[in-house]
Structure formats: structure tokens, C-alpha cells
């Protein structure tokens, strides 16, 4: 099992990071977030992401996708997390898969091309789902796509995500497959890993330059250790995530266990790292103008995306033994 990203996989990440840095800088994300009446991401940018193949990276070519796999999608989603990319990437990528597997190639193509967006049902909330968009309802048995009827905005915790109470019209597609949730957990774990790595680097950089008592605060062990813990969490999370991506793609018996494990590690790592990052920054970390809170809030949403963490715990406790 080779867990080091190949050159091709690394180049997917590099190209994504390059695009995100230019087109979805933090300043631009803040502008998009300030206009809560508009969608989380504008149509122009969304279409450009679709043209880059981001919505169909792991879908076969016959499904109108790029024909790569979950490990490649992981490389992309890690960057989406790192850059706090707004927009319904996860639910659209999963939605295209549901549509194709449900035998609706045209719909899959429409999602792939950026024409149709798919938001996500999270408890009673609809996230990034406008009227007439589709919405994905995901559970341990599979996924269903519904057409969104009326959508009533609700004030939400993350300025980069639109929250609403939405009426759903009819079901559009259904794909009952237990591996869909495992796939979703792996992709969200990838975004959470990106978040852990982003705040790790943000904290390390601040600790090198912020001077107190005549020296950089990174010389203080208390600060240094919080930064080190972020690096440790990122390393463990990356390893487990890459393994989970391989196993889910190969549909092995222990795939669900590893997907749930990667998700739990990523959630826990991100919760702690994003909080510690605020502490490392001191007073400025508590302000709206500094970016720390954006990572904290995104991590919170991801942690709750599939309901209580105990659902993942059940999947982790299920196997009798670890498979070697």
C-alpha cells in the first residue's frame, strides 16, 4: 500500500491550490460572505470550477467525469478545505454520482457541467440549496436527490455557507449504496485535513513573528507545543485519510471502518486545532477581521454534516478485529 501521493496526484493539488489562491482568495471569500442574499459562490466561478473537472474528478468518463478515483478527489478536497472554498462542492460531487448510478446520465452531466447545483440536507437545515437547485439527503443506506421548492434563509454560523429551511418538491434520483456515506466521510475528512494544515501554518507563521517579552512567542513551549500538536494531528490524519481513500475506492471489507476513522480523526483534529489557533493569536484571533474564526466555523459545520459523531463511532466499533 503506497500512501505517498504520486506526481500526478500532487499536481492535481497544486493546480487546485493555484486556482483557489487566484480566484477565491480570502478577500474574495469575505466579499461573497458579506452578501448573504446571494449564493455562497457566484455562477461564473462555479462554472469555471466545473470546467476544471472538479465536480466529476472521480466519476467515470462514460458518466461525463474525468475518470480518476477517490484518492484524486481527496487531493482536491484537501485544497478546498485549506482555502475555505465556498460552494456546494461535496454535495454536488456526491449528487452527480447518485444521479449517474440512478441511471440519470443527463442529470449527472448537468451537475458535472455546473448547470445544476446540489445542496445538502443537514438535519432540518438545507445548506447551499437555492430554490430550484437539487438537494442531497444522505444517510447510512445511500443518497436521494430532491428538487428544492421554496427556500427560506436562516442565519447561520459560517459566513461562507448559506443556511435555509427548504421545502422539497419531488424526489429526482435515488441510489441506495452504503459506500456512499463512506465516500462522503472521506471527502469531508480531506477538507478537514486542509483546515488543520491551514491553521497549523497560520499559527506557526504568527508564532515566528509575533514578539512579546522581547522574543517570538514561538520560543515559548506552551505555544510551540500547541503548534506541534497541530502538525501531529495533520500527519496522522493524512495517513489514515489516504489509506481510507484507497480502501473505499477498492470496496474492501474494512473500508467503512477506515472512512469513519479518518472522519473522526479529522473532526477531532480540526476542532482542537482551530480553537488552539485562536488562542495562539491572542486578542487578534478573537476578531472578525482576522481569519481564525472562519476555520473554526467551517470545522464545526463539517463535524455536524452527517449528524452526531456517534454514527461514525458505531461504524468504528463494529468490526471484531482490525484487518491486516
Amino acid at each position: 500500500m503506497n500512501l505517498a501521493p504520486s506526481e500526478e496526484q500532487a499536481s492535481i493539488a497544486a493546480a487546485a491550490a493555484d486556482f483557489l489562491a487566484k480566484e477565491l482568495s480570502i478577500a474574495r471569500i469575505r466579499d461573497l460572505g458579506a452578501d448573504q442574499g446571494a449564493a455562497a459562490i457566484d455562477d461564473g466561478t462555479w462554472h469555471r470550477c466545473a470546467e476544471l473537472g472538479w465536480l466529476g474528478l472521480g466519476l467515470s468518463e462514460e458518466a461525463g467525469g474525468v475518470g480518476l478515483g477517490l484518492p484524486e478527489e481527496v487531493m482536491l478536497f484537501r485544497e478546498l478545505g485549506r482555502f475555505l472554498a465556498p460552494g456546494p462542492f461535496l454535495s454536488s460531487v456526491l449528487g452527480a454520482r447518485v444521479a449517474f448510478r440512478a441511471g440519470q446520465a443527463d442529470l449527472a452531466e448537468s451537475i458535472n457541467s455546473g448547470e445544476t447545483r446540489v445542496g445538502m440536507q443537514v438535519g432540518d437545515l438545507a445548506i447551499d440549496a437555492r430554490s430550484d437547485d437539487l438537494i442531497l439527503a444522505l444517510d447510512e443506506f445511500g443518497g436521494r436527490l430532491y428538487r428544492v421548492g421554496e427556500s427560506q434563509p436562516v442565519a447561520g454560523v459560517d459566513p461562507g455557507i448559506r443556511f435555509a429551511r427548504a421545502q422539497t418538491a419531488g424526489m429526482v434520483a435515488e441510489y441506495m449504496d452504503q459506500t456512499l456515506l463512506a465516500r462522503a466521510r472521506v471527502l469531508v475528512a480531506a477538507e478537514l485535513l486542509g483546515i488543520i494544515e491551514a491553521v497549523r501554518d497560520m499559527s506557526a507563521s504568527y508564532a515566528q513573528t509575533r514578539i512579546q517579552f522581547g522574543k517570538p512567542i514561538g520560543t515559548f513551549q506552551a505555544v510551540k507545543h500547541r503548534c506541534a500538536d497541530m502538525a501531529i494531528a495533520a500527519y496522522a490524519c493524512a495517513a489514515e485519510l489516504f489509506q481510507a481513500a484507497l480502501l473505499v475506492e477498492a470496496e474492501t471489507a474494512d473500508a467503512g471502518f477506515h472512512a469513519a476513522s479518518a472522519y473522526v480523526l479529522a473532526s477531532n483534529g480540526a476542532r482542537r486545532s482551530t480553537a488552539d489557533n485562536i488562542q495562539n493569536h491572542g486578542g487578534i484571533g478573537f476578531t472578525w477581521e482576522q481569519d481564525s474564526h472562519l476555520f473554526l466555523k467551517r470545522a464545526l459545520v463539517f463535524e455536524n454534516l452527517f449528524g452526531p459523531q456517534r454514527a461514525a463511532y458505531r461504524d468504528i466499533l463494529a468490526p471484531e478485529r482490525h484487518e491486516f
Binding site: 500500500m1 500527519y235 484507497l246 463511532y313
Partner: protein, 378 residues
């Protein structure tokens, strides 16, 4: 990132699994202080050697199988999966001394010492720490003076694991007291039976003498026992520690996964998962344990490209220690009042307190990660 499903590797795993199912000792490893512990470990090591399972990735000319690190990892996994004895008086020999000799020893040293390790003849111990040199290892003061073609060693070492059962020791000594502290150190092969060597076991908090204090009073060894060059021992010690952070002791790391499987099985059988807080902690630590194995593969995947294990792999050890500590504590909570009896998990909990200390405290490890991986100032 790709799944290796080669037929050869699958066959190797099957072969290992079959052999282990027929050869793992049925008797448990004695938890006593007498010579029977060494005899037990020697017998088990000999059996592995005779079966062709010693030194999977060591060169055939030294008695190894000459296979790759990947097969070595698979062998470790199967050892652990088969619940084979994994603590051993040969741990230092396989995790430290052997790899160091392979990387830094000369031909004579390799052909003399390595086969004896594989055949289960000569346990090794580690003589790095001193009463005044713990985390600050480079401040060590045990002296070695060149006298003709011999080194004369005086001083004392502490926390020498397996000292009382070992034939050889990997010893760091100061050969140039006037040089800057990292420059005057030499890595030598110590004969632990030499005159002037006094080994005194130290009883740990679990009642077992895991370590020893060793006194050297003008003990003599040939100059030929120097590994690499005189005064270049710090660099050799870094190779030793790289081996430790790398694939060395991988079976110990992986055995944590099996321990947590056992915890899970026990908790299910005894209805302990009804306590939601126990279930939550168990699930979390089980997920964390899964990462121990994936981190090993992650590291091996990068090592295959010819890189030495880097400082970022210090993260592996820090992670492991966290898992060990939490799992050992959880085991007690699962046992409840029963833990007050002298149960194996009670003993394991006590012995787990060495995890964040031995091999460099986790505090120092996190300094290393902060400084060498994240570039934070000292």
C-alpha cells in the same frame, strides 16, 4: 497513493500467516526476573530464524531474507495479528543496534554481530542516558580513553533497558572532553560481560525491573568496537534514533491496535458499551490506533524513495504515546473496580507511564516538531 495488490506480497502474507499459526509459542512469556525470560525470548527468536523469518529486510549474507521493507512490515503485521510474543530482550538488537550496524558499521562488525542477533544468540541493551543526561543526551559524561588498541571506559549509564539480560550494549561515550558537546562522542559496542561492568536492575512502578543502572569502572573494550569513527558518535546515534523512529519497533507500535481490539471485544462481551462515555472513548481511541498503521505505511511509502526518516516522523511516536496512554487508562475504566486487583491491564496501565518518557520525553519531541518541522525559533 495506490493499493499494492501484488500476488507475491499476498503469497508472502499467507505464508507468514500459516507459519505463525503453527509456530507461535503456546506458553505465555514469563513475567519474571530470572534467566527464564531470556531463554524464552531466545528460543522464540531461534525458531523464527530456523523458519526463515528473521531479518526479513536484512541482507542474506548476514542471515537475513534480503526482501524489502514492505515485506518486513507485512511480517510485523502478521506477528502482531497472531498475538505472537512481541516484548523481547532482542528489542534493542532489532530496533536499534542491528539497523545502526547495517547503516554505519564496517564489514567485520556486520558479519560478526548481525547473524548472532538473527539466530537469537545475543540480546543487546541501550546505554545512552545518564543520571545527568536525560533529554539533554549530548551532555553525557561517561569517559572513554584510548589506551593502545583499547578503550578504557568509566562512568555510569541509567535506564539501560534489558541490561541484565544483554550480552552487548550500544554505548555512547565521551572520547574528547574538550570538544563541543556534540563533537566528542563515540558510539561503541560494549561487551556487557567485561570486567569493570556492574549492572544493577531498577524496579519500575509496575514492580518489574524494565531498566538498569550500569556502572563502568575502567572497563576495557577493543578500539575495533568503535562504530564509524572516534568522536563521530553523535551522527551514529542520530542513525540509531532514525531507525527507532522509522520501521524499528513497528511490531510494538502495531501491537497497540491488537490491544484495542482486545479491549473492544472485552467491552462488548461484558456489556460495557452501554456506558456511552466508554463507547465514545473506545471508538475514538480505536480510530486513533488505526492511524498508527497507516502512518507506518505513509512513512514506508516515502522511505522507499530513498529518504531517511525525517523529523516529521517524530509525529508518529508522539501520536503512539497518546494512544497508549489513553488506551491504558480506558482499560482501567472498562474494568472498573476489578482494576484494583493485580490484573494484566492494571500492570499495563502502570507500565504505560514510561511511554511519554522513554526514548525522549514527548515534551522534547514536541519541541523538535515545532522547531524542525514548523521552523519555530528555539
Amino acid at each position: 497513493v495506490e493499493l499494492d495488490t501484488s500476488k507475491e506480497l499476498k503469497e508472502f502474507r499467507e505464508e507468514a500467516r500459516t507459519w505463525l499459526s503453527e509456530n507461535v509459542p503456546s506458553e505465555a512469556r514469563p513475567h519474571t526476573v530470572g534467566p527464564e525470560l531470556r531463554e524464552y525470548d531466545q528460543e522464540w527468536q531461534r525458531r523464527q530464524y530456523e523458519g526463515g523469518w528473521a531479518g526479513i529486510d536484512w541482507e542474506p549474507e548476514y542471515g537475513g531474507r534480503g526482501l524489502s521493507l514492505v515485506e518486513q512490515v507485512v511480517w510485523y503485521e502478521e506477528l502482531v495479528r497472531a498475538r505472537a510474543p512481541r516484548d523481547s530482550v532482542f528489542s534493542v538488537a532489532f530496533g536499534h543496534a542491528g539497523p545502526t550496524l547495517i547503516m554505519r558499521g564496517n564489514e567485520e562488525q556486520k558479519s560478526f554481530y548481525l547473524p548472532k542477533i538473527l539466530r537469537g544468540e545475543t540480546p543487546w541493551s541501550q546505554g545512552f542516558s545518564e543520571p545527568g543526561a536525560g533529554s539533554d543526551l549530548a551532555s553525557l559524561r561517561t569517559r572513554a580513553v584510548v589506551d593502545g588498541d583499547e578503550l578504557v571506559i568509566s562512568g555510569s549509564k541509567i535506564w539501560t533497558s534489558y541490561g541484565q539480560w544483554s550480552d552487548y550494549g550500544e554505548l555512547l561515550v565521551r572520547t574528547d572532553p574538550d570538544a563541543p558537546k556534540h563533537k566528542g562522542i563515540t558510539w561503541v559496542i560494549m561487551d556487557m560481560h567485561a570486567p569493570g561492568v556492574d549492572i544493577r536492575p531498577i524496579t519500575s512502578i509496575d514492580g518489574f525491573p524494565h531498566n538498569c543502572e550500569v556502572f563502568y569502572d575502567e572497563a576495557r573494550i577493543p578500539l575495533a568496537n568503535v562504530v564509524d569513527k572516534v568522536n563521530n558518535g553523535w551522527s551514529v546515534a542520530m542513525s540509531t534514533l532514525a531507525a527507532e523512529r522509522g520501521p524499528g519497533f513497528l511490531d510494538h507500535r502495531l501491537s497497540e491496535i491488537v490491544f484495542i481490539d482486545e479491549l473492544t471485544e472485552y467491552a462488548k462481551e461484558h456489556g460495557k458499551l452501554a456506558d456511552q462515555s466508554i463507547a465514545d472513548r473506545l471508538a475514538t481511541v480505536r480510530a486513533e490506533a488505526a492511524a498508527i498503521r497507516s502512518m507506518a505505511y505513509y512513512q514506508v511509502s516515502t522511505a522507499r524513495k530513498g529518504e531517511m526518516p525525517g523529523s516529521e516522523t517524530t509525529a508518529i511516536r508522539s501520536w503512539l504515546v497518546g494512544v497508549q496512554t489513553r488506551a491504558a487508562g480506558l482499560a482501567l475504566d472498562i474494568l472498573g473496580v476489578e482494576a484494583l486487583e493485580w490484573k494484566p491491564w492494571t500492570r499495563q496501565w502502570l507500565s504505560s507511564f514510561s511511554a511519554p518518557i522513554a526514548g525522549g520525553t514527548t515534551d522534547i519531541q514536541r519541541n523538535i516538531i515545532g522547531e524542525r518541522v514548523l521552523g519555530l525559533p528555539r
